[in-house]
Symmetry: C2
């Protein structure tokens, strides 16, 4: 049986990173997709593990050759999801997790309708503002910009398959595990005993 492609999106400050980390620990058979990027490796990052590190020319060739499930430019660098690695993992029966923005998520759904799109959302806008302030890394302008970006992303909520409110990380992870369990019961995904089909 093919694995499930799980896409997790949500505003900056929703807790996507922590939820992904705990989810990957708790859910055997789920693996994080390795993105391609044109940015330089940071100390300790390993090619093929953290990212596939490619040149800008290589990246543009991947785009032209439709080798990316989705891609985006962030500041001066490109990031994208190599489609072949994802397909191979799914065919091996592994579930694959993508942590990407809403625009990327919708790109994936278009190319891969069986993908399961989950929107992770903090309980309220005030809670998101508090979390962003609590990180202490962003200026007030940057926080305001992120909140407005969250409002923009929220307009696409209806096009996602599921919305998970991140009140507590452990609770959000259990909910996402339930979604994965449910999606494995879709008629197209269930492998029936041959005695039924004969």
């Amino acid at each position: 049986m093919d694995g499930v492609l799980l896409v997790l999106s949500g505003p900056s400050g929703a807790g996507k990173g922590t939820v992904c980390r705990v989810l990957l620990e708790k859910q055997p058979g789920l693996h994080l997709s390795v993105s391609a990027t044109t940015r330089q490796p940071r100390s300790g990052e390993v090619d093929g593990v953290n990212y596939f590190f490619v040149s800008e020319e290589q990246f543009k060739n991947m785009v032209a050759g439709q080798e990316l499930l989705e891609w985006a430019r962030v500041y001066n660098h490109y990031y994208g999801t190599p489609v072949r690695a994802v397909q191979q993992a799914l065919a091996r029966g592994e579930d694959v997790l993508l942590e990407i923005d809403v625009q990327g998520g919708l790109q994936v759904k278009e190319k891969f309708p069986m993908a399961v799109l989950i929107f992770l959302l903090p309980p309220s806008r005030a809670e998101l503002a508090a979390r962003l302030k609590g990180r202490g890394t962003d200026s007030m302008e940057e926080i305001e910009r992120r909140l407005q970006w969250a409002d923009t992303e929220l307009q696409y909520l209806e096009r996602y398959d599921y919305v998970v409110i991140n009140r507590q990380v452990a609770e959000a992870v259990v909910t996402i595990q339930a979604i994965l369990t449910a999606e494995k019961c879709r008629p197209r995904r269930v492998k029936l005993d041959p005695s039924w089909v004969g």
Copy 2:
């Protein structure tokens, strides 16, 4: 938030009755829908609790008045699901469980597209045959008839939302609970904090 209407179907011998009983014990907020029937109450059955006991004329009026979400004739009696009781329970935020045959399930989905249809299936046809024989209540002809009916019902599997293989009752119940958790995360069902929508 409106509750979820859960429809459980599957061949006779799949274990629907047991799975429903355990599910109702384990899942707070989930209630079994009370059907209307023209058959006589058996000893101990209470009107409005086990069934709504109605006359054949009353039943026909309910059908004519579109008061039933689905109905069927079984031997000489009519059985149906009163739509108003289901709607009222859902509006109160309760989840409602219907245990009905595949034809009834598809009738419900047509009138109520938000209904969640689950097909409960034994691991294999041989296992179903063994369970039917093990009950010791049916003749060989009756068992063969039920197996053929299972084959017929299976043709509608793709129109169901989920398939749950009933290997162990406890495992099937946990899977159905996961489906309910997932369905409560559908964008149309999630009640967002007003700060998001303003």
